[in-house]
């Protein structure tokens, strides 16, 4: 049974009624993070689990997602609490984009690499501008890398300054050198959920945290 259906099977109760009366009916949630953190893989899993669809192609090549993609009316529920989401999968935010990285590390021709770099810069601009239009954020961090990289810190700073709710998805915990505990210790003021978006490990907890945080 898909995880979405499993979580939906909880009986509705007084909390559900209260949420339906006082809770936010629909929230626009942006999936943010640096390139290659697993944003699109997670977006695909959420959309597949709750809407039986996919969001877009994921790849190991950085900046695979170069335009923001939106999936509307994702209905999540757990133990009687429910939430309707618009999920926005945003391009990875970076401070530098060098076309030569695509040539040297991903065997692209120069022209193709320059085109990809140009599109990637436009994607970063679009992702930053979406910050003005979301109600909450899933910040996807790669649990195998330094959590204090500038992109993570800049995104978190903007969320805190705007008082937007955030759930940190500590992704890639299926990899042996991942350290989700490091992420939890680094950001104790925010909910941090260790997951593997690619295997689906612990995404149930992420969904529960999303519902409690964004409702």
């Amino acid at each position: 049974m898909p995880i979405g259906q499993k979580l939906k099977s909880g009986k509705p109760g007084i909390l559900s009624w209260l949420n339906s009366v006082f809770g936010k009916e629909q929230a626009k949630i942006g999936i943010y993070g640096p390139p290659n953190a697993g944003k699109t893989t997670l977006a695909n899993r959420i959309v597949r689990d709750w809407a039986g669809d996919v969001m877009g192609a994921a790849s190991e090549v950085p900046h695979e997602t170069r335009r923001a993609r939106r999936k509307a009316n994702i209905q999540m529920s757990h133990n009687g609490s429910g939430l309707t989401l618009d999920i926005v999968d945003t391009p990875g935010i970076a401070t530098k984009i060098d076309f030569e990285d695509f040539v040297e590390n991903h065997e692209m021709h120069e022209g193709e690499a320059k085109d990809r770099a140009k599109e990637a810069t436009e994607g970063v601009v679009e992702a930053i501008r979406w910050l003005d239009d979301v109600d909450g954020i899933i910040l996807v961090m790669d649990a195998t890398t330094d959590p204090f990289n500038q992109v993570n810190v800049t995104i978190l700073g903007n969320l805190e300054a705007r008082r937007l709710p955030v759930v940190i998805a500590a992704n890639k915990i299926d990899l042996p050198d991942s350290s989700p505990a490091t992420l939890k210790n680094a950001f104790p003021q925010h909910p941090v959920v260790p997951i593997s978006a690619i295997t689906g490990y612990n995404v149930e907890q992420l969904y529960e945290t999303m519902i409690s945080t964004f409702k």
């Binding site: 935010i93 970076a94 401070t95 530098k96 984009i97 060098d98 076309f99 320059k114 770099a117 140009k118 810069t121 436009e122 970063v124 601009v125 930053i128 501008r129 910050l131 204090f148 500038q150 810190v153 800049t154 978190l156 700073g157 903007n158 969320l159 805190e160 300054a161 680094a186 104790p188 003021q189």
Partner: protein, 133 residues
Amino acid sequence: MTNNGNGGVKINLVSKAKLDDMSLQEKIRFILDEVQQDVILVLEEGLDPNEEAKLIESTMIEIDPDNFTGIEMESQRNPDEVSIIGKLFRRSTYGGKASMTVVGPADKLRTVYKDGDSIEAMVLSEPQEATAV
């Protein structure tokens, strides 16, 4: 410096007073003009998150594949200063102004390590050389 012909690197320490006199747009323009001349800036008063986001946005618009690949930026904030009371009330730790920001051209500056007290970076003065700062 800019690359001054001696293989050196120019590092400018920018005072809080100078930045205080600038609007957001003037500040972003100043930083990008300096960085695109291969200057590394150490800002006495760091950028706030909105300024950082605007700087990244403007950087992306100005990236030129053959001449400018972007910036390396590190801002120092100290989340350890948050008290237990602050944590209980979910006080912001990243939403304020950084105590210091280092920003430079991506092909000349590499951040090696940072924590709440220091930023360790390498300045690449020549393609194969690196100098700790």
